[in-house]
Symmetry: C2
Subunit: 387 residues, 2 copies
């Protein structure tokens, strides 16, 4: 049995953003030695790890040499060099989640084909090598507008996804492999985080619900538990488990899905890491997602995924029209509110829509938490100091 606690064991983390930073709270709690690689010298993970290296996550040699310094390698972002991970695995350095899983997930076309192959419910889709080929299929009436276009690679935080409602919408799409997916009328966007360790122990977190702004197409609140029928919630958790097992996944897998008008569950996409939809767990769950990720990849027993109380998460994103040194306007106002905890990621510069932090509202009464969340949303503003 490996001794992880206050020992010589070393965990390498590829990526040093806010997700890595919140993982580091847990490695500190367990006194596990960590190494972090990130392209930015100002990365949120710069401190709290035992060793920080600035470098390119997509560069084969950089990732390989960095990973060789550790006993286990993990990542907090999908954009890392998969060939280097494969080489590390062949050298006996465990990489969790695995290189082959990451490879399947990195490319949305491959990911969708995987669901089809494994009989996992997902929206109907077609894969195209180029925009030209996509346009040809429309002309040939093989697919019809409206549909959802998704770039196979490089999508993040809503980029690389577009609803095509008319012919002209095709003109602004970026070139490259893509998929055209049926537009699904859905009641809710849901997510389930599944944790699985190398021994095959598996636990799911409760289903969370993404509540959208009534007019702007933007998630406003992540709500745990989702305010949905118990049977639908059970189905969502089972479906998420099926996805984790299909990948023989190790670590966290955040499974995003749609609840259709007729209560079907369709997988949208997955993230093989701690996820924005699980941030509420720091305050609301017995075991938060970051601790659970560590437990899973180190083959430790998984912790209780139940909630102690209701939890709602509000993202803090940079306000439009503000770029410069960040100021969290009215943060003291929200700190007066019941059960409110701000998390500041440590990025010095704000830009419009940049994820700068999040706020959790914990409350025994979820409806009360939802009211407070709205007050939080209407109070705090992420602005720059030059305005």
């Amino acid at each position: 049995m490996v001794n992880y606690f206050s020992s010589d064991f070393k965990l390498a983390i590829l990526g040093g953003g806010q997700l890595g930073k919140m993982v580091l709270y847990e490695t500190r709690k367990y006194d596990i030695q960590t190494l972090v690689l990130d392209p930015s010298a100002e990365a949120p993970c710069k401190i709290s790890c035992n060793y920080f290296e600035q470098g390119d996550l997509m560069d084969y040699e950089t990732v390989l040499n960095f990973g060789r310094k550790a006993d286990v390698v993990t990542f907090e972002i999908e954009g890392v060099n998969v060939d280097a991970l494969k080489q590390l695995e062949s050298e006996g350095i465990k990489t969790y989640p695995s290189a082959t899983t990451l490879e399947k997930i990195q490319n949305k076309a491959t990911q969708k084909k995987f669901y089809r192959e494994k009989n996992i419910p997902t929206a109907q889709f077609e894969v195209f090598d180029s925009i030209k080929e996509l346009k040809g299929a429309i002309e040939d009436r093989k697919i019809s507008i409206p549909f959802v276009w998704k770039s196979a690679t490089g999508g993040y935080d809503g980029k690389g996804v577009s609803v095509i409602k008319k012919q002209e919408d095709l003109e602004v799409l970026s070139e490259g492999e893509c998929i055209a997916e049926n537009l699904i009328p859905f009641k809710n966007e849901l997510a389930v985080i599944v944790a699985r360790n190398p021994s095959g122990e598996m636990k799911t977190y409760p289903v969370v619900e993404m509540e959208f702004h009534p007019t702007a197409n933007q998630v406003e609140y992540v709500i745990c538990p989702a305010r949905i029928d118990k049977k639908v919630a059970e189905k969502a958790r089972k479906t998420a488990e099926k996805v984790s097992e299909a990948f023989q996944h190790v670590g966290l897998l955040a499974v995003e899905m749609f609840q259709t008008e007729d209560d079907e569950i369709l997988i949208n996409e997955v993230a093989p890491r701690p996820h924005n939809s699980g941030h509420y767990s720091i305050e609301a769950s017995y075991t938060n997602q970051f601790e659970q990720h560590i437990r899973a990849i180190l083959n430790l027993p998984l912790g209780n995924t139940d909630s102690k109380v209701g939890g709602i998460m509000v993202n803090l994103v940079g306000a439009e029209g503000h770029e410069g040194n960040v100021v969290y306007k009215n943060i003291e106002e929200i700190m007066k509110m019941d059960g409110v905890t701000p998390h500041i990621y440590g990025k010095k510069i704000t830009r419009p829509f940049r994820k700068m932090g999040h706020v959790t509202i914990a409350n025994k009464d979820l409806a009360e938490a939802r009211k407070i969340a709205e007050k939080v949303k209407n109070s705090i503003k992420v602005i720059s100091d030059n305005k």
Copy 2:
């Protein structure tokens, strides 16, 4: 209004042990810049702060020069140079808790006299300048055996306190100023943590109970909430508030007290910082004690001190007969248990009775938590790797 979050503001922390380490989780969460001073190059706070300095906490020049680098100075241990803190205050650098409060608390004789002066209930006591003077008072029948001897200075983790049951017990006492205190038959040892900010906002945590081993004189479990009558709990909280107000305290004040056989509350002693009796709050409270300390000393609004669930804390201390590189035997066993979170402080070397970590058991049902706590206590052992 000061901008603390992702700004140039700097908080200095005197002492880099486990309490400081847990404060740093919170400064990272808020992205507040920190400086830590500790005599050990292996201090648990070595990473996660922005600047670490190795130095003597009792040395005037060291503390003064260190404190001058910051905007606010706090401490996680009472043994720091008070004159340096006074000088820093005179230079306009805020030190919270204040130098004068710390000075009163550092000396147990001064602390006890303060309670007497402020009409705060505490066990009857006499102060003596030396063991010789104490012996004289016994000979003159001014005080009588049995009584509790406490060294005025230098006491920590049970050191500097002794129950004098017979004349010979006097012979092993260390020399110096001391107090002789009436031996109080008590039902329970309780503690209340009070948070107070410079604006005078004050909040108390629920009363916790120290459950002792039935034969060994050692705290086994800290239990929140204490299993006591509501009226007694209310009295304990009110008394703790009175102490915090008497000191005009800023920051956390952990107030240890006795519940006597006739349900009186008597103050035992206080600690002007986060405290072992509040560790349960990381998992069980809406606002944990470390975040609350930060909120208090920075004059931010205080957070909700209510508990989400029941919490029990078990200290992890080095096993007898073990000295060397630490191994947490059976830690994986306890991680299988429901709602169990280990905290490893990061000290590489274990020694008998050294505080190496703690374990929190969180559960909606406190009786269930108590059962699990016993299993934890009987499973995990802090040993060295050379046995």
